[in-house]
């Protein structure tokens, strides 16, 4: 799973296979990070406006 695990080999098989996994995990991680960060910003800006909800 990681290059520091003893059976890791720097070949095309590992790069494609593990690359696919890390590619998917990165997209999911970035997507969730964006949502959490945007949520915190939204809450802060809502508090700045006196707590009135503008969504929906």
């Amino acid at each position: 799973m990681f290059p520091f695990i003893f059976e890791w080999v720097w070949d095309i098989d590992h790069l494609v296979f593990m690359g696919g996994l890390w590619y998917a995990l990165t997209i999911i991680g970035l997507g969730l990070t964006y949502c959490v960060a945007k949520t915190i910003i939204d809450i802060k800006s809502q508090e700045g406006k006196g707590g009135h909800d503008t969504h929906h």
């Binding site: 296979f17 997209i27 997507g31 949520t39 809450i43 909800d53």
Partner: protein, 412 residues
Amino acid sequence: MTTPAIPEGVKRCPTRQFALWLAVVGAVLLWGVYAMYLCWYKGLNQTNMNDAYGFALWIWADLAVIALGGGAFFSGFLAYIIGNKEVKHIINYAVIIGFICYSSALLILAIDIGQPLRGWFIFWHANVHSMLTEVAFCLSVYFAVLTIEFLPLIFENPKLDRIPFVHHMAHNLHEVMAVFAATGVFLSFFHQGSLGGVSGVLYGRPFSYRDGLFIWPWTFFLFTWSAAAVGPLFTISVTRLTEAITRKKLVKNSVYQMLAKISGWMLLTYIIAKIIDTWYWATEIAPSMGFAFMDFYSNNPLYGIWILVAEIILGGVVPALILITRKGRENGYLLFTAAILAMIGICLNRWVMVLQVMAVPLLPFQEWFMYSPSWQEVATTILPVAYGIILISLAHRYLLVFPQEKELNPGN
């Protein structure tokens, strides 16, 4: 004033009636949990698996629920990638059904590996040449995607929605849902396919071995295509069943018609490819490995030619022909019958590709290897069904799963 947990504008059964329903299904769930405990505590000697059957009922159940749960990824593809607006009226339910199917598959696998505490080995010490490793990766990551897709729906519960973080998080998750849905489609394509690839690459098993494209046997593509075709039909069937139980109209007929039409054409193209694949296997691949076609369908108490006919004709050609015709789709009974037949067809396909593969004798002096599951295997296979019913009941009661429900039931 307290905010009610049940969404505004919809009517649900009294709490006592709901609790009684949960208790009945919960009893079945507990039976499965007890069998699961036995398998973990005493080991896999609680099953009827043996040297001939390393894969048995559990793996069939896994493949079947993953295929039926394919409605989530295909509906997500139609809604978020293609931009089909009708599908958005049923996508919530497709996600919940997918979530149940994939969590069930993971639960069954956790029992099947015998030592769940070592489950992480498949990730940490990954064999990059194994179709099953790819399945494990995609299954786990796609389950994470389904959980993310399920979250906004949970967050919109009236009680939770009052919490500012939850309220904004639901809104922001909706905004980027297309990204998660696209990731889910990518993951589903590969794990649905790799499940078919597992049997297709077994060159020591002439019943399942197939040629293919690069590293992928034809079964890879057939499994993905069939899951995309039948998954939405499972979603339709569960929705119709929910309508019958709750005695409410939850989704407009136009949504069913549209999904059924797409599924019908997908099923027709799949079954044509499957017939060609079967014909080529029967006339070229099997003979080249020293087997005649009827060697696989005779001299045993279960696997006759009937199973191939049932899978392809009854579970493939017939429902496809019903679903591609407007009259077939518009008749509620015919639509439901076609969906049931297609689901039986795909379950039979997964059965033969897991269990008949194991049953066929490989050497001239061998007999057929027959298998029947132990009660522990049966109970742990029924366990996810009970769990699914409970989760659906809770979701329907406390979440606004169907956006059209208020409009279709104005007087409740």
